[in-house]
């Protein structure tokens, strides 16, 4: 009886500690969501109000304010994230297959992509800005897509290598015996088997693109502005519109937050790729 009591006490203690940690780590996000529902008077009241009458003004404002086209920014983010993820997947699958099944040059390419992940992004941002400027690609979707694809590739490649390593080589050999060429092996054998892996890798790629700021910001000023970049437009030289800004941050965070709830496992696999087996 005494041991059981001690165990229950232990569990309660762990739960309490976990609760405190979760509050500390999430109070920022929570308070930001609260702010987005406060009226302007409540936002600037001191001491800050924790109980107030919620209003939707800022959300309406964000979508309807003249010249500030948040709906368009969200649409840009969506287009850029989906196409970048698609490109990165199409580029990474054959590369991963080559690295696992055909040895040689692949290892160098793998090393180069991993090195890319660690190098200062600004060393790339300056020349890329100038080159794209020369080719009149600034403020186009495709410019941002080219760069986001590059940043999605390293993690995608690592994950696909893991998935291909787990495949039994026999099914490919059987297909080759039947006279299938490499394209057929990839499209009719490998890709269908990898489908769940592709889906979770794509989610990570989407988040990478959606969250990116430096290149999206440098390469756009009006037409191809993404939601992440667009939130900063509420800070001008004259004033900061806190309410709409909080609403814009909340909206921009929703897709990534949804993904972590539906795809926690693949997210963890992606985040730990490279280091866990090291």
């Amino acid at each position: 009886m005494d041991a059981k009591k001690k165990r229950i006490f232990g569990v309660i203690l762990v739960l309490l500690l976990v609760l405190v940690i979760l509050i500390i780590f999430n109070i920022g996000v929570f308070t930001n969501v609260l702010t987005s529902f406060k009226s302007n008077v409540d936002i600037s009241s001191s001491p800050p109000k924790w109980i107030f009458k919620p209003v939707l003004d800022h959300y309406l404002h964000v979508f309807s304010k003249g010249g500030y086209n948040f709906g368009k920014y969200l649409q840009n983010s969506l287009i850029i994230a989906i196409i970048s993820t698609l490109f990165a997947t199409l580029v990474s699958i054959p590369a991963a297959y080559s690295i696992v099944r055909y040895h040689g040059l692949g290892d160098k390419i793998l090393g180069a992509t991993m090195l890319l992940r660690l190098m200062p992004a600004l060393a790339l941002a300056i020349p890329v800005f100038l080159i794209f400027n020369k080719f009149h690609l600034i403020d186009t979707h495709i410019a941002i897509i080219f760069m986001h694809t590059l940043f999605i590739i390293p993690t995608s490649l690592l994950l696909f290598i893991g998935y291909v390593q787990d495949l039994p080589i026999e099914i490919e050999e059987a297909a080759e015996m039947d006279g299938a060429n490499i394209i057929q092996v990839l499209t009719q054998v490998i890709i269908p088997v990898l489908r769940p892996g592709i889906a979770s890798t794509a989610i990570l790629g989407f988040i990478t693109s959606w969250n990116e700021y430096l290149f999206s910001g440098v390469l756009s000023f009006k037409n191809s502005v993404t939601a992440t970049v667009g939130t900063s437009f509420f800070i001008t030289s004259y004033q900061v519109e806190w309410g709409p800004m909080a609403a814009a941050i909340t909206i921009s965070s929703i897709p990534t937050v949804i993904f972590i709830f539906i795809a926690q496992k693949s997210l963890i696999r992606g985040m730990t790729a490279g280091s866990v087996k090291g």
Binding site: L130, Y213, V276, K277, G278
Partner: protein, 291 residues
């Protein structure tokens, strides 16, 4: 026939690598070489098509500038402190989570939540929450800090460290936690029988078994913190003045606010060279884990 097949196999292996190679060359290698070339020129927005060659002029100016040295020092200090805080917190929280308790799956998801939010949005969010006049968190903390000026000279570094810890500790946590899950439960039980307490078990049983992952995570975190840009840019923009100007903000300001592309390129290549050896070492360690 056989030799023909082997040769064929090699060609297919290369062809499969072609798309990724094209991407890396066009959007990483070529721009970097162009950037390297720019670092030897006086290149500004008005003469970018016809810049003046000045040899090592940018590098000489760079090493003489106190601003550059101060930025490197800020980044170095930030990287060491932020990484230490996040490693300790990440390990302790992973140890706390490394047991079964009700609602654990949801608790993991909620702990990872700050990590999936863009660092730029996180920075913008904290800029609001720590605002001197309307920030609710600044107000809550003013009981301890005695002021709400959390982005002033006295507290801005701590604010950045705190915001980054919230954004990035989950990364350390998830790596350490996944590694701990791989440690055999039998070993832990055996050491319990031998009378080791929780702390001794962590130090003497778990750590040696996950030391390689801890080391890789530490290095990866250290490099990333050294180059921190988005969160600081959104939160303090390097200010007040250039008080929190790390090396990435230094380069950004030179390039995109002063349009001094030659000088900014020189700074980014100096940085790349400094980071090359630790980065190559880290890549080698990671590759060993993949193969």
């Amino acid at each position: 026939m056989r030799r023909h097949r082997i040769k064929n196999k090699k060609i297919i292996g290369w062809l499969l690598l072609l798309p990724i190679t094209v991407w890396l060359v066009c959007f990483a290698l070529a721009p970097m070489l162009y950037g390297l070339r720019l670092s030897f020129y006086n290149a500004r927005i008005n003469n970018i098509n016809n810049p003046d060659f000045i040899g090592f002029g940018n590098y000489i100016k760079l090493f003489q500038s106190a601003d550059f040295g101060a930025s490197l020092l800020w980044s170095l200090r930030f990287a060491l402190i932020a990484t230490s805080i996040q490693m300790i917190l990440g390990i302790l929280i992973a140890q706390l989570y490394n047991r079964s308790f009700p609602g654990k799956s949801a608790a993991i998801t909620l702990f990872l939540l700050p990590m999936v939010i863009s660092p730029f949005l996180m920075g913008t969010m904290f800029r609001l929450l720590f605002n001197e006049f309307v920030g609710p968190i600044a107000y809550l903390l003013s009981g301890i800090t005695g002021t709400t000026a959390m982005l002033g000279v006295a507290f801005v570094n701590s604010t950045i460290l705190g915001a980054d810890a919230i954004n990035r500790t989950p990364f350390v946590f998830i790596n350490v936690y996944s590694a701990m899950q791989g440690v055999s439960q039998e070993l832990i039980e055996a050491s319990k029988v031998d009378g080791a307490n929780a702390f001794q078990r962590l130090i003497h049983v778990t750590f040696p078994l996950i030391s390689s992952i801890l080391w890789v995570t530490f290095l990866e975190k250290l490099l990333a913190s050294f180059l921190i840009f988005e969160l600081v840019f959104a939160l303090s923009a390097g200010g007040p003045g250039s008080f929190t100007q790390g090396i990435s903000i230094f380069i950004y300001r030179r390039a995109f606010q002063r349009s001094d592309y030659g000088m900014a390129s020189a700074a980014s290549f100096t940085l790349a060279v400094m980071l090359l050896i630790p980065s190559l070492y880290l890549v080698k360690r990671m590759l060993k884990g993949i193969k």
